[in-house]
Subunit: 437 residues, 2 copies
């Protein structure tokens, strides 16, 4: 029997060069959110299935979640998103925690879906959540952080566009402005969320099916389409503008502009897939024509912590996935050259292995990362040097009898072929100095 | 319906203070293996089930692995160990990779077992593997790394004991010295692996059931027990000493001693649970009487990469779990005080929120991590300070009209109650200087 060489369908192996790139992305994410006082948490990848049945949205749970029954008869899910988990953790220590609570995590999440570019069955997602702030300041802080993240990757504002809307305003439009029932509102929100993927006729047909004959006669359909067609926030009908949910959107945009964030626009068609959002929602889109899609999204979800039987907490959060971020960085040429963490490849010649090992240990004590060549001693020196080159290690040092006797060593930079000679101390200094450049 | 507050049975939530501790442990692990030239990789937590059927050992796959059938009808497993995965990845790029190949990973692994102290259903495990080295140097390097890890945690050699044996020598003892069949050898290895958990009578009964009447008559049982009872490596029967597998053990111990590692002993009862080991095996035990158990283990497994239909590669690797490491550090008082990553809690008073926000951003540009107080502006200042204290943030800065006018600020150290006054530049310097201490 021959075992399979490929990873599980739709999931990725991370070879060291891939892992280095992911680590670079995660460290930029982590440094940015940490600078705003956010603290990292984590939780098990398995959760009771019921955690997702409440509010994640039907499609996600029924069609896309990995669920199974464990050996003890429990129904479990591999987490498809982190929001229910973080809400559970906050609820569990509701009274002990100090608010405002700023938390983040970069969990791996699983969704059963057809793999395609930028979408995998396993992906990592930065989750940033702020608990305990009722005011707009929460939304503004999170949008600011998201914007800072892209800037930290050296992206310019023209490369990404922030879209903002308010789910509470949409509910007001559906329920009050259009007089739809709660069920119609729910279905309509789902329909608008999918609108970009549907052609015009399909969308209009689905809309038609949603409305009663009486509503259609009264022109609800046309009224809805008019509202959904507004291009500027100023064109919103006046009676909607009077609602506080509208004011929250305009105030948030204004505050962002004042903070120097000008690539933010109102988009009335922005709904977000999850059922738990109840206020401002936002997404960030790549403006590159080859990757014109949502890279992150979030919003206010004040009700989730309360589902665990404790007093609810106002909450705003967002998620940002690794795959679309990676596509974004590549398309905009923002991926830096990431070197191996190994500084030096030490090659012992002849009988010098024991002595070379001691030298390796002394260099490690000076914080130099050293890999020792343990390949066949009959191998040609050129082939040994090639091993280091293939691993993208910057320096090599060949140690034979001569070097051990004279205590004079020759350090070679593989890329530039430059050589640096001197005592071990001098060579140590040279490596450390050049590493920090 | 009230949702469950607890994490999945046997798995752990990591609140920020727990995550900081785990991050500390992982960074020490990572820094140590990186100093030996090891590179990090990762892979999906789901793998095809067949990957484990070949060599992980029956008990692990049949009783302890999380397996299910996915929506596409594939039999999958949540990885119970990393070795089959890393072997798959190496096999998949067998020709492209440069050997010696030094890889590590800190994956989360899942086992369905009864939760108990130091054993969870989800745990993290440092996996360190060296591919492509036939000689003993591979084993010696890995034992050295393991020893360096405990030293990096400031453990002294009396706190842990390294045990070493050779599975090839055990096979020689079973097959040649005792003339057992291959099936008997397999069962006997499993039995010895479990010996520490069995009482003497149960062990002897099981041994009895393993042997044929003829073997029992010939005194095989007594001969085996005599061998298993040797306390010193010198007491091994001479005909076993002549085998090369014995020499490999003595050479490895000698090389470790020469490298200053003296807390290493031979233990003929050390077997390791996995079926894939074929040479030297080793484990490290906590010597503390309250935690007298194995904390890490590994060995040579030359055959695993070859199971993927490519040319085999000599391999030595080990795994080191986070839970037992955590117990070890606690029992020996080796857990350092780990501060919050947030340096400063900024509290705006009155109408100073906008100005304070600008100050926060300017401090972030100087690499200071700043959390802004967004709690109710009616809250008492003392209560606001308590929020920072609860989050273990070192410094607070209260900013009101007065401070904004005079540009003179008062920084307070929450723990010492010391105050430092000066301009924003002076305060920035003070925070940065004291952070690096």
């Amino acid at each position: 029997m021959k075992l399979p060489l490929q990873p599980y369908k739709g999931a990725r192996d991370f070879y060291p060069e891939d892992k280095r790139k992911q680590d670079y992305m995660f460290s930029v994410l982590k440094d940015t959110v940490t600078s705003f006082g956010y603290e990292e948490y984590n939780a098990p990848i398995l959760e009771p299935l019921e955690l997702y049945l409440a509010k994640s949205g039907e499609e996600i749970v029924n069609e896309q979640t990995y669920t199974f029954t464990d050996r003890g008869g429990r129904q479990v899910a591999i987490r498809p998103e982190m929001t229910p988990t973080v809400s559970r953790m906050v609820a569990s220590k509701r009274q002990e925690l100090a608010y405002p609570l700023r938390w983040f995590s970069i969990p791996n999440l699983w969704r059963y879906e057809r793999p395609q570019r930028g979408r995998y069955r396993e992906h990592w997602q930065l989750n940033v959540d702020l608990f305990g702030v009722n005011s707009n300041q929460a939304e503004i802080e999170l949008i600011t952080i998201a914007s800072c993240i892209y800037k930290a990757f050296k992206a310019t504002p023209d490369m990404f566009l922030i879209k903002i809307n308010n789910r509470a305003m949409m509910d007001f439009i559906f329920n009050n402005y259009l007089n739809l029932s709660i069920e119609q509102t729910y279905s309509l929100a789902k329909l608008i969320d999918k609108r970009a993927k549907l052609d015009k006729v399909t969308f209009l047909d689905a809309l038609d099916n949603l409305l009663t004959p009486k509503q259609k006669e009264a022109g609800v359909s046309e009224k809805l389409i008019d509202v959904l067609s507004v291009k500027s926030i100023d064109d919103i009908p006046k009676e909607i503008k009077l609602h506080e949910s509208f004011t929250k959107v305009t105030e948030s945009i204004k505050a962002c502009n004042e903070a120097g964030i000008n690539n933010i626009v109102f988009d009335i068609n922005l709904m977000r897939g999850f059922d738990y959002y109840n206020g401002i929602v936002f997404e960030i889109f790549d403006t590159h024509p080859d990757n014109n899609r949502s890279m992150m999204g979030g919003g206010r979800y004040d009700g989730l912590v309360g589902l665990f039987g404790v007093e609810p907490i106002p909450t705003v959060g967002f998620g940002l996935g690794d795959a679309t971020l990676s596509n974004f960085l590549e398309l905009h040429n923002l991926v830096p050259n990431i070197k191996s963490e190994t500084d030096l490849y030490l090659i012992p010649l002849g009988d010098s292995l024991n002595q070379t090992q001691k030298i390796a240990n002394s260099l490690r004590e000076k914080n130099i990362n050293v890999a020792l060549d343990l390949s066949d001693s009959n191998k040609k020196i050129g082939d040994k040097i090639n091993i280091a080159a293939k691993k993208q290690i910057k320096y090599i040092l060949v140690i034979g009898e001569q070097e051990l006797k004279t205590k004079h060593f020759k350090l070679k930079d593989i890329n530039s072929s430059e050589e640096y000679t001197g005592s071990l101390e001098k060579i140590t200094e040279h490596i450390l100095k050049n590493r920090s450049l």
